[in-house]
Symmetry: C2
Subunit: 311 residues, 2 copies
Amino acid sequence: VSEAVFAIDIGGTQLRAAIIGRDGQIIAKQASRTHAQGGREAILVQITDLCRGLRAAHHSQTIIACGIACPGPLDSGTGVVLNAPNFRDFTDVPLRDEIAKRLSLPTRLENDGIAAAIGEWKHGAGLGSDHLVFLTISTGIGGGVIADGRVLRGRRGMAAHIGHLITDPASGLRCPCGAIGCFEALACGPALERRLRANKPLCAAIGKPEPDARDLFRMARAGDPEAVALVDQEADYLALGITSALHAYSPERVLIGGGVGSNLPQMLDRMRAGIARTAMPHFRDVPVMPAALGDNAGLVGAAALAFDPTI
Amino acid sequence: VSEAVFAIDIGGTQLRAAIIGRDGQIIAKQASRTHAQGGREAILVQITDLCRGLRAAHHSQTIIACGIACPGPLDSGTGVVLNAPNFRDFTDVPLRDEIAKRLSLPTRLENDGIAAAIGEWKHGAGLGSDHLVFLTISTGIGGGVIADGRVLRGRRGMAAHIGHLITDPASGLRCPCGAIGCFEALACGPALERRLRANKPLCAAIGKPEPDARDLFRMARAGDPEAVALVDQEADYLALGITSALHAYSPERVLIGGGVGSNLPQMLDRMRAGIARTAMPHFRDVPVMPAALGDNAGLVGAAALAFDPTI
């Protein structure tokens, strides 16, 4: 019998649970569609059901704790989700203590961006680094920061909302958070897809009325000049936000994950040129590189938190 | 005989040295005009001369260490000034070790914004707080961050360059760092004064061809509508940068120092309204308040570093 933990990653579409070992290896994983509109009790039941299902199928593991990654803002100190805008009736939810009680396990709760940063730091592309910025470029832009060998948390654990650095207010682009010109409003997947869908000739060339980011990156790889221009613009926006993150945190590495972020190799040359234009000279050589754990970063980070109370 | 330290603050115009006690009290202080164009040796000699003058006049103190605050970027880990753009021949200067050797004292070197943040944290308006953002709004915009009860340093100690968060690239305003639309480029004293001097009727009302920020704030207090509009615009720019800092670091307090910053009370209502428009709800109630130590924050912080190697 070896020791393991439950890790939960509450996403806007998928709710995932896993049993994970001390080495960060995923022993078993289950997912179901998040009951986003079911209210808080529905999500609590969903989490405990997934965990009980995993436990029943994996008797050989002794589960010693639970870690949860959840969209913020949340207070990781008190374990309370302050507000999860994509979930109905999910304001001021004492998620950590509710799950701890229902599973009878010591439980930690962390912002999903920070949890993913921890996953990459402990078991992914950030291994061995004391200064790290992780960004997930997806439906939103989430982030987490390791600085001076520790997780940057701040008041109520709400630091590293890098997606909400004010980056281009003149763009007029409204962020889901309500502000105008946040990094997320410029560069998240839906913003990119809006620009794509506004380009009718490109949509026609793709042959879909509602093409997505994947279609765009494919067309750009095939050399379509309109697609290349949109990908270049995305790279320019990412360069602005990454420059701010370099100056804010001075990381040794910037790790990029998420659906849009998975196309990093296609954007990297253009992004590096943008960073060289806007970052101060001593920040320009910081590597920007793909995250290693993909969709599992949040789960692996939640597990690391569950194993190690000092993180 | 009581223990004290030397504190040095190397400014673009004034080079200041002080003897400071463990309680942060300034026992003696001397200043001279910075030999900015004299090259590195001139500045090294100037520092040691000021310190020797102070020591000669204050025999009752045992000087046990030295702390230096200097404009960055600098590497506080190795004690090397990477580049101080306002000083001639001041690139890759091992300032810490040079001063340690010449004074025969253990010496620390810190970025002036971070040193001032430490001063306010240990002996000023940040006392008792674990999460703090300090901003000096002056010729430039400098900053320092305390997070989770520690100084945020990052790779080479270069974190917290808050003045160089990309804040409004569409403004076309070029920052001294070379980038366009940095927070500093929008909101530093010289940017404000350029806007003031471009307003000919306001300059005529002030009665000077080259009025400065002090004249502007005075005219605004007197109710001049053109002056009020410029002060409001400054408050709006500050709100953008402070919003980004709230989201980046999640401080408990934001402390504002510097020449322009000393007019905070006159800008605070407008700034708070701007922050309420752009910050996420759970960040809006963070107090923005005047720093307490004025020009001495950097000296007091440098002294705290000299006394306590764990900071």
